[in-house]
Amino acid sequence: MDFQGIHDRLLANGAPGLLGVDEPRQPDPEDKKDKGRFGDAFVLVDPAHLAGFLQVCRDDEALNFEILADLTATDPAVDDENLWVNVALLSVKHRHRLAIKSLLPKAAPSLPSTTPVYRASQWHERECAEMFGITFEGHPDPRNILLPDDWLGHPLRKDYEFPKEYHGISCE
């Protein structure tokens, strides 16, 4: 199924938290500052309902996304109010993909864990938590995964300050 078909199916199913779509577009020739938007189309989903949304994607027969390929986050800019949570789904049966984006306010970066839907997201969420400071409520094992347990700060945030030393080891 193509992106439009998937989106129609999600609308027909009343998938929880579906806010809209973002599709690539060519730059507006009249507006010189507009550079357009390229790449993939994705659906926008309310982070509070992300787990329920994924469940619909997984269980619906026409969508049948068996595999959560990726779950990650993005900090678009220092002065941006939101973090993005990006999910990539893959269907083996129907051979299609879906990209999902949730905007998460930096003031309260917290959303329910999607681990009950896909076990695959368990490690991805641990990585997001340590790298971006996102809290996944109800995560079964919320430890650091790549960073040491006593690491300060969230390295993939754009306003992250590089440490000057770590346990007496100079980093400069």
Partner: protein
């Protein structure tokens, strides 16, 4: 079927034998009383294929709990991606899965190209696929060689390295490097193949085809190897989906899915249309479907399929440019894309976000080893300590990629 009881059966027998003593605790009717023991496996251990640590809780010979600890090789690849220019990031991609650096180059280049929306010259696509498939052969050679080494079969390792050496010499001729190539780059490939190189690749294919039955006989049909791997570490299809397994791990559980054939990228669509290669899917030949033997079998047979793909490319390659014309300082238009390709270990995904500048906003790497490793938490409990090595080895991880 093997006549040896499975770990689950042993555990069940244990529970059956136990009798409840006065305090309500269960006591096992064994002559030696056992107690839970925590074993620290790694980070410096030859069977972890790098620096990975697994904390195992054991009850005698049975593993009752396992917790992988990663991060010993974390080099902040994603943070570096936000701080260097698009082209400068390319050498860093070599360093996550260092056994399949060509594939990493391809995955990253294709993700950036997806945002830029550029076409690649046809000869470059051919050279890309030849290099990627040769690298897949090299990677699987290591996979089965070191897997044999892990569980006590020393000889196949030397056979595997003999052919891999030739493969690396081929890469050295085309790009000057033996392990970290940076050969496939945004817009095409770095340079054209030197004179005689394609002929040597054809010779390599012929030789490899003759040698391959040796490996198969040495390892896959070896009764000791079969006893160690068949019916061990079984991943059912549902579990493979739940954990997001891809590549040989998924096909080892009997799922007929290969991104190269089913969601083709580059010129794989044409190759699949010609039915030039098959996708090996495990059938549970020596034991239960989804066991360690099946996963190794998939990797073993895939090498021959890669040879077929290389042959197809050699037959269809034409003269032409190998690198599109790109400005020296690359500015990628604003946008974002997720591109997943079939790496030797599974789906290598790159999610790139550009703000229209010469430096990226986000370069996310979805390493297949990282995802495939997560299954250990589920797979190890209930197995024997000796089988734990066989199970870890069969996931074929590269720690450079789990930690990035």
């Amino acid at each position: 079927m093997s006549d040896r009881p499975t770990a689950a059966q042993l555990l069940e027998a244990r529970v059956q034998d136990a009798k409840v003593v006065g305090s309500g605790e269960k006591e096992f009717s064994f002559d030696v009383r056992t107690q839970d023991m925590e074993i620290n496996f790694g980070p410096q251990h030859p069977a972890t294929h790098g620096v990975m640590r697994v904390l195992m809780r054991t009850d005698g010979e049975l593993v009752t709990g396992a917790q992988p600890h990663l991060g010993y090789l974390h080099r902040c690849a994603e943070k570096i991606g936000e701080n260097v220019e698009w082209l400068q990031y390319l050498p860093y991609t070599d360093r996550y899965d260092y056994l399949a650096a060509m594939n990493n180059n391809l995955g990253y280049s294709m993700a950036v190209e997806a945002v830029m929306g550029i076409e690649i010259p046809r000869r470059a696509e051919m050279l890309r696929v030849i290099c990627v498939e040769l690298n897949r052969i090299g990677s699987h050679l290591i996979a089965f060689g070191t897997y044999g080494l892990d569980i006590g079969a020393f000889t196949p390792f030397f056979y595997a390295f003999r052919e891999r050496e030739w493969m690396m010499a081929l890469f050295e001729k085309i790009c000057g490097a033996r392990l970290t190539y940076s050969y496939i780059r945004i817009g095409g490939v770095f340079n054209d193949a030197p004179p005689g190189w394609l002929e040597e690749v054809a010779l390599f294919c012929d030789t490899f085809e003759q040698k391959w039955p040796e490996y198969y006989a040495l390892l896959m049909e070896n009764q000791i190897f079969v006893k160690r791997t068949a019916n061990v570490g079984i991943i059912p299809e549902a579990m493979a989906y739940d954990f997001g397994l891809t590549g040989p791990m998924l096909r080892g559980s009997g799922v007929d899915f290969d991104l190269r054939r089913d969601m083709p990228y580059s010129i794989y669509g044409e190759i699949a249309k010609d039915k030039a290669f098959d996708v090996p899917v495990a059938r549970g030949e020596k034991g239960t479907l989804g066991d360690c033997w099946d996963r190794t079998w998939v990797r073993m047979v895939e090498m021959m399929e890669s040879v077929k793909i290389v042959r197809w490319c050699l037959a269809h390659i034409e003269e032409g440019p190998v690198l599109g014309e790109l400005p020296k300082t690359l500015r990628v238009p604003p946008g974002e894309a997720y591109v997943g390709i079939e790496n030797p270990r599974g789906e290598l995904g790159h999610y790139v976000v550009s703000g229209g500048d010469k430096v990226g906003v986000r370069v996310r790497v979805r390493g297949p080893s990282f995802v495939n490793l997560a299954v250990l938490e589920e797979l190890l409990p209930g197995s024997l300590v000796g089988d734990a090595i066989a199970i870890i080895g069969s996931t074929d991880i590269v720690v450079g990629e789990t930690d990035r």
